[in-house]
Symmetry: C2
Subunit: 194 residues, 2 copies
DNA sequence: GATAAAAATTAAAGTAGTTGAAGAAATCAG
DNA sequence: CTGATTTCTTCAACTACTTTAATTTTTATC
């Protein structure tokens, strides 16, 4: 699947478009490559784009008072990523976004997105559906953090994202699940023995 | 402020409407009263409505394997509440929604919402913005659950929702913040002493 | 391919939050 | 107003998870 097809698929899953509408949409996008460890966004900056991931792996995270990183979301090819709050309100972000692997993105700015909504209102629906899915995924995560033990959450994670677990370090998995890498190591040992 | 004004305000904050559009919107709503402890939705049922809370207090929660309740969201007057996943996909909900205080709601069904989007597309924007705000609030919560101690989360909660803390039991607060009522009681004692 | 840097493992001691149980205080239903 | 139910508090024992620190393994760099 080519890059363009990846995004076309993503669109077609939710709305049906004329070729001219597709072309117009693509004309609004710019491509960006991001080397591993390079930042797409830093805390304090305003997030100017929504980003469709063509390849690679990125994370969005905060750093707490004691210097620890906490990952609020991962993104891989086929996913959209952005700090929506900063993007929509124009206020500085609380988050960092950087690449865990070299990545290629398609970006759209807020101005161009507004233009897109105006010219092709169907896209308003498309982005609402994306948001809806992201909302639901977050709600699940909140509920799991409240209801499940660390072990249950880890098992759930590797079952749900088996490919992802292979691609990122355990340190990143722990920063997503909400415990320490040391504890994850102990967990894995315990699970491999039983 | 009358009931109708509460919702009008909520609308006006995000989109501007003609009187006929407002009237049409209101014609699609039905009012529902909910006695304390009465269910708006049970696990396994399909969520048929989005609900605007005119008065009272509701919660959305799950019950885990060991019988404990975990609250994923509260709602008070002026807020919208629903299980969006079930609402949009038509699949059975994983959640319960019930009233912590006698409540009055304005409800809109999915069919009527689709009709509304069709006749007055501005509403698509309105509901997207609502969703956006809810998304952002959830993202904050995920990050806080990862980054903060129980004590920090409690202090943050009472600072952010001082009115709410007065209206609901500590048991509900604990079920929202993710620890036991016993621990909350200990926390409060410790905080009152220092 | 050698060296440096980052990640993962292990162990031991410490802490935050849970569990269970019992009594006191508050709320609810008739 | 009364008894019944639910909520809150307190205590002590327990467990899940953290912290620190030392060692090994893996990955990155020139």
């Amino acid at each position: 699947m080519t890059n363009e097809e990846l995004l076309l698929n993503n669109l077609a899953r939710h709305i049906s478009l004329e070729q001219t509408e597709i072309d117009f949409f693509f004309s609004l996008l710019t491509q960006k490559t991001l080397k591993k460890k390079a930042f797409l966004l830093r805390q304090g900056e305003v997030c100017k784009t929504e980003n469709f991931i063509l390849s690679g792996c990125i994370r969005m995270y905060t750093i707490d008072d004691s210097g620890q990183e906490h990952i609020v979301m991962f993104g891989v090819e086929g996913w959209w990523t952005s700090d929506l709050y900063s993007f929509f309100t124009g206020t500085p972000s609380e988050y960092y976004i950087d690449a865990l692997e070299d990545a290629v993105l398609l970006q759209i700015t807020k101005e161009r997105l507004e233009l897109l909504y105006e010219k092709v209102p169907k896209f308003e629906r498309f982005f609402r559906i994306l948001l809806q899915n992201a909302f639901i995924a977050q709600q699940r995560r909140i509920n799991q953090n409240l209801s499940y033990t660390a072990e249950q959450r880890y098992l759930d994670f590797i079952q749900k994202y088996p490919q992802l677990e292979q691609r990122i370090s355990q340190k990143q998995v722990a920063a997503y699940l909400g415990f320490t890498p040391v504890f994850l190591s102990m967990l894995r040992k315990k699970l491999s023995q039983s």
